[in-house]
Structures are given as structure tokens and as C-alpha cells.
């Protein structure tokens, strides 16, 4: 016993001695490095003479930080990390009791989303809620729905689709054109837009059935551009780059959201505000996104969903098991496109205006980035990724206080894409399989175990 105690004590003093030695060494190196950079500074004085400023205090701070930092690193942080790693390796055998929050994450998230508009209205008032409900809430939820739709094609079936925004455009224009030319209501056109987009998904699906991987990506990219160019150039119908404006708003069981006598505000006895319409739209897109999630979850447990995932894993094995890969691919394209189309018609009714500029390739890239960042196939991961990416870029608009730090010339908006790209690189290095890299099995015999991302394939077309 005494022996063990003495060895551990000597190990402790050894560690401190080593840490001190390394700290002195780090201090010396930083002294050598910074003595000319920091310790001495050349300046011009008012007579244009070069003067040497000595900054020994600053140099001392640099050296002390380096030495103390090294000491702490060697003496405390490294042993602590090693201990944690060992503890983790030991704990792996023990069944981890998931926290209440983790187990019920989706339920809590849905409840929070339902409570979001009233809480915001209570906090910042009806007019102040406009920005938070519309710019953040609705905007993020649209992307959540789009990414969940694309997830069926890319995450489940493993078909890399770079032209997903085409179906979004089909949905948006279906609603915009059919409502302005034929005066059909939003509630009829919502499923119609979905069906039309699904139809276009099949049309895209046919020529690309034989393609895989890079080739499939290029053709879908081209398809997205074709749709956009048709929208620009078919001016008699789509009004080209001017876009379709004055698109009818959605109604709630026939109640309009306007200032008229039988409008929503008047009926409810509330002061007129456009915020009510936005809150209505928030709940609408929330319902549509949840519908997408529900259908995806259900489909994964159906033979077709399993066939999609099997297709991602190995197409030849699928065929050898009697699965018609042609119809399986087409249904994946069509189902994904349908949700894209429904989201598109919602987009049209929310904006009241659609133009081809909303459906550029960057949109496809952002949606795909959300799917990849979230973890292909995982609904929760994708939702988190959408909040991080879309919410993050919206937040960057708000960072005017950074002007105080970087000077008045600094405009955070200009750095949005830079920060965005940097953040993506960091996340992908940190979590190469996305936020949620594991896969939930769709059936189990004894216990449901998450499957590590290292086994699942990304698909190859």
C-alpha cells in the first residue's frame, strides 16, 4: 500500500517538475520569438524621425502567458484529459442512461416551436414579433422542410441531387400561376403543387436512372438550371425576370388576413397587424414540416423506405433480392420532389411574389449543405443544421455591435458567407458524419441500437 502511495506521490512530483521545466522552456522560446516583435516597436514621431519604443511590460505578459499556459497544460489539462478518456473507455460497456432531455428531444422541440409565437409576442409585442416569427421562424422552417424533403432523396436513397431547388420552383410557380390565372385557392393548390412537383421529379428521374454519383449530380444540376431558364424565358406565362407578383394570400377557413371588416383582426377584435398573418404562416409551415417528418418516419418503416436505404447501401444486392430499382428510385425522386413542391407553394404564398432569382443554384447548395451537415438520414440532425445555418446567417445581419470592435467600416453582412463557409469546414472536421451521424434502425428483435455512421454508406447514385 505504502509502495503504491509513494509511487503515485513521486509521479505527482515528477509531473510538476516536468511541467515547470517545460514552462521555463516555453517562456524562453516565447521570449526569443517576441523580443523583437513585441518588446521593441519602431514608430515615427512628429518630426518624421524613427524612434524605438520599448515595451518590456507587454513582452513580459506574452512570456508569462506562454509559460503559465504550458505549465497548466502539462500539469493539469493533459492528465485530466487522459483520465477522462480512460473513464470514457471504461464507461462504454455500461449502458448509458439517456437524460430526459435527450430522450424526449423531439417532443420538447415541437412544444417549444408551438409556444414560440405567443412567447415572442409576449416578449417584444405584436409589431416587434414580425422579425422573429417571419425572418427566423418561418424562414428556418421552410429550409427544415426542404432539407427533410431532400433527405429522402440524398440521405435515404443515396441519390445525389444538386437541382432540388427546381422542385421548389415548380411548387412556387404552380401556386403563383394557377392562383393568378384561375383564381384557385391556396388549400386546393397546396396538394396540386405537390403532385406537379412529384410529376417533375419523375420526369427528372427517368433520364438519370442509369447514372451514378458524379454523373447524376451533374445532370440534376443541369435540370435545376433548365427549370430556372424556362422560368426566365417563357415570358408570356411566367413574366420572365419580372416575376409573378400580387399572389393571393392564404385564408384560414375563408377568413382573410386583411384590414377588411370580416378580416381576422376585426373578427377577433384585435388591432390590425400583419403579424397575425405571419404567425398563421408560422403554424402552417410548422404543420407542413411536421407532416414531412411524419411521412418520412412512417415511410422508413415501410418496405419502400427500407428499399431506399438498401439502394443507398448496395444497388446490385437490391436487384438480386427482387427489388425493382427503377420504381424505387423514381418514388424517392417523386416523394422528395413532392415535399419540395409543397414548400415552394408555401414560399409563394408567404412572399406574395415569385421570380426566378429565388431559385438559383446556391439555394440547392444550401439545402444540400444542411442535409450533409445535419447527418444524412437524421431528421433531428437536419433540423439542428437548418437552425444553425439559416438562423446563423440571419443572426449575422444583427451583429452591428461588431462595428465597435472592428471599426465603423466593418459590415458583418459581407462576412456572412465567409463565416458560413468556415463554420461548415469546422463542423465537418469535428463531425465528419454531420451532427447526428448514427442511424436509427427501423425494426429490431431485442433492442434498438443506433448504428454508427462508419457502417452506413453515402450512396453512389
Amino acid at each position: 500500500m505504502a509502495n503504491i502511495a509513494s509511487t503515485s506521490a513521486s509521479a505527482g512530483s515528477d509531473l510538476t517538475a516536468r511541467a515547470l521545466r517545460e514552462a521555463v522552456f516555453a517562456g524562453l522560446i516565447s521570449l526569443g520569438l517576441f523580443v523583437l516583435f513585441v518588446g521593441l516597436k519602431t514608430d515615427q514621431n512628429i518630426r518624421n524621425e524613427l524612434v524605438l519604443n520599448q515595451r518590456w511590460g507587454l513582452l513580459a505578459i506574452f512570456v508569462i502567458v506562454a509559460a503559465v499556459g504550458r505549465f497548466l497544460m502539462v500539469a493539469y489539462i493533459q492528465p485530466a484529459m487522459a483520465r477522462r478518456k480512460a473513464a470514457k473507455a471504461e464507461a462504454e460497456d455500461v449502458v448509458k442512461e439517456e437524460t430526459f432531455f435527450k430522450r424526449n428531444f423531439s417532443k420538447i422541440a415541437i412544444a417549444a416551436l408551438i409556444l414560440y409565437p405567443p412567447v415572442i409576442v409576449a416578449l417584444v409585442g405584436v409589431q416587434g414579433s414580425l422579425k422573429w416569427v417571419d425572418n427566423f421562424g418561418v424562414q428556418i422552417l421552410i429550409y427544415v422542410m426542404l432539407a427533410w424533403g431532400l433527405n429522402i432523396v440524398v440521405g435515404l436513397a443515396g441519390l445525389l441531387d444538386l437541382g432540388y431547388v427546381a422542385f421548389y420552383a415548380v411548387g412556387a410557380y404552380s401556386y403563383a400561376l394557377l392562383s393568378t390565372y384561375f383564381g384557385l385557392s391556396f388549400w386546393i393548390l397546396l396538394p396540386v403543387a405537390g403532385i406537379l412537383a412529384a410529376f417533375w421529379g419523375m420526369i427528372l428521374g427517368f433520364p438519370v436512372l442509369r447514372l451514378r454519383g458524379d454523373y447524376l449530380a451533374i445532370v440534376t444540376l443541369a435540370f435545376g438550371e433548365i427549370i430556372r431558364l424556362v422560368l426566365i424565358n417563357w415570358t408570356e406565362v411566367t413574366k420572365g425576370t419580372f416575376g409573378v407578383s400580387g399572389i393571393a394570400k392564404a385564408t384560414l377557413f375563408g377568413i382573410k388576413f386583411d384590414a377588411s371588416k370580416d378580416g381576422f383582426a376585426a373578427l377577433m377584435g384585435l388591432p390590425m397587424s400583419s403579424a397575425y398573418y405571419k404567425i398563421f404562416l408560422f403554424y402552417l409551415i410548422l404543420a407542413l414540416a411536421l407532416l414531412t417528418a411524419y411521412v418520412t418516419i412512417r415511410l422508413r418503416r415501410m418496405p419502400i423506405g427500407r428499399a431506399w436505404e438498401a439502394l443507398r447501401e448496395d444497388e446490385i444486392a437490391c436487384r438480386s433480392l427482387g427489388i425493382n430499382t427503377v420504381t424505387t428510385k423514381l418514388t424517392a425522386f417523386a416523394t422528395g420532389a413532392m415535399f419540395g413542391g409543397i414548400a415552394g407553394s408555401f414560399f409563394a404564398v408567404r412572399q406574395g411574389f415569385v421570380s426566378p432569382e429565388s431559385f438559383v443554384f446556391l439555394e440547392s447548395a444550401v439545402i444540400l449543405a444542411i442535409v450533409v451537415l445535419g447527418g444524412m438520414g437524421s431528421l433531428t440532425g437536419i433540423a439542428i443544421a437548418a437552425v444553425a445555418m439559416i438562423g446563423g446567417t440571419e443572426i449575422l445581419r444583427e451583429l452591428s455591435f461588431l462595428k465597435a470592435v472592428f471599426g465603423p467600416d466593418f459590415t458583418p453582412e459581407l462576412y456572412r458567407m465567409l463565416i458560413f463557409g468556415l463554420a461548415m469546414v469546422v463542423v465537418m472536421v469535428w463531425k465528419p458524419r454531420g451532427f447526428v451521424g448514427s442511424r436509427e434502425p427501423t425494426a429490431f428483435l431485442r433492442e434498438r441500437k443506433a448504428i454508427s455512421g462508419s457502417f452506413t454508406k453515402e450512396g453512389h447514385g
Binding site: 415501410m302 419502400i304 447501401e313 427482387g322 429490431f444 428483435l445
Partner: protein
Amino acid sequence: MALETTTMKKDPILSVEHLSMRFGGLMAINDFSFEAYRGDITALIGPNGAGKTTVFNCITGFYKPTMGMITMKQKSGKEYLLERLPDFEITKHAKVARTFQNIRMFSGLTVLENLLVAQHNKLMQASGYTFLGLLGFPAYKQASKESIELARHWLEKASLVDRADDPAGDLPYGAQRRLEIARAMCTGPELLCLDEPAAGLNPRESLALNELLRGIRAETGTSILLIEHDMSVVMEISDHVVVLEYGQKISDGNPDFVKNDPRVIAAYLGVEDEEVEEVIEQIEEIEGGQGGSKK
């Protein structure tokens, strides 16, 4: 010759007639005919590059043969011309299932899910092509339960039931081989085609494989056609051996007959220059004998 008369009585499940497959200038299979009999384990053997896997790919529709006819006769008497069917319909309608030389698992799906994917067509029908199942009709729930039971049955046969909820990619090699066979059996085939099922298995595992294959035949009456290099497996379990060399059949009969066929020995071991004459003589003798018996 007694053997030949017994095989004559047997009912062929698969007959391959005058099969030829040409890849550009290469004649991979040249006028190859054989029959596999119902309830038999038929082995297709031959040296490397003899065209065994090509024959398999023609039977299972992954290649379209240049010439020839492949007839699958089901228990019900229904006949399918396999060279005319697309690959997935061969499994779906003609009930011919296959495995692959290099294992093709759905490695990211669990072992159980692998077996459920194999029951796709049955479940698809039960779920009313997804629509009724999506609406929660009970027919799908029932079928889903039954499919899990069938999967459990085959997992028990393949002694994989303990690993049912693990990802298939996590299984050791031998277990993946067994899983691939179990998965093929879940499609409910009448003819099971196995492409080198014992490749890479240790002696204990190949013994277990023999047991599994015998169990499959005894229980379901499924006929088995296999390509194999491992002679301990071939000679042990097969009832009928067909030998292929350079795309042509050189021998066909029961294992003992094939084992002692000079042409087979020559194909596998090669012949010394001075023995060539002798071997040719032997072959001619046999061929003369066969010709006589046929008349």
C-alpha cells in the same frame, strides 16, 4: 451407368441449353448446356477464369447471354425463360435467388433489416404499395409481424439471432456469408444460386456452412446451385457436379465420377507432355462409352 438412369428420371428445375456469352472477342462461355435437378445440390466447378460466375450472371439476369436458353421450371409447373427476364424479376417471379462472390451486404442496415429488405415484394403487396400501410391498415401490421418471424427463423438457422440488431457490416466474414444466404432464403426461392459460399471460411465455418445448406434443402426443398473452389465442400454436399473449363463443359455427373474423370484431373492439375497421348485415349474411350450408352 446406373447413376445416369437415376438422374434421367429426375425432374430438372433449371435447364441451360446452348448457352454462349461473348464479351467483344472473348468467348467466355461456348455452347454450354447442363441441367440442375429439383431438390439436388448441384455444384459448378472449374479452374479460375473458366466462366462459372458468367454462367451465374446469365442465369440471374445480370448478363444477357449472346445465345442460348435458360429455362426455370417451378414446382407449380410454371416455366420461365430467364434470359428474357430483367434481373429483379428473376428473383421476384421465377424464384431464383443468388449470393455474390464478394459479399454484398447492406452494411449500414441491421442484420434483421437486411432480411426484411429481402421480403420487399411480399411486404409491398401487403402494404397496398405503401399507401394502405401509410394509412395504418392492419394488413400491413400483420404482414410486418410475419416478416419479422420469418427473419427470426432464418437467423436461427444461420445462428445469427444474437447479432440481429447489430449492423451487418459489423459481423465477421463468416457470419456475413451466412447472413447473405439467409437473406437470399428470405425471398422464398425455389432455386438458390451461391457464388463461392465457402470462399475465405475456415474449416470450422465451412463445416457450419455445409450444415446450413443441408438444412435448407431438407427443410424447404430448395434446390441449390453453387460455384465452389473448396473441394471439401463440393464433394461433401453436392449430388451433382458440372465442370467448366474455358467456357465449355468438360464433365458432368456425380462427385465420384467427376473426381476420377481424367479430363477434370487434366484441367486442374495439368498433364505431363508424355502423358498427353494417354489422356486423350482415355477421354476417347469414355466418350465412346457414353455415346454407346446414349444409343
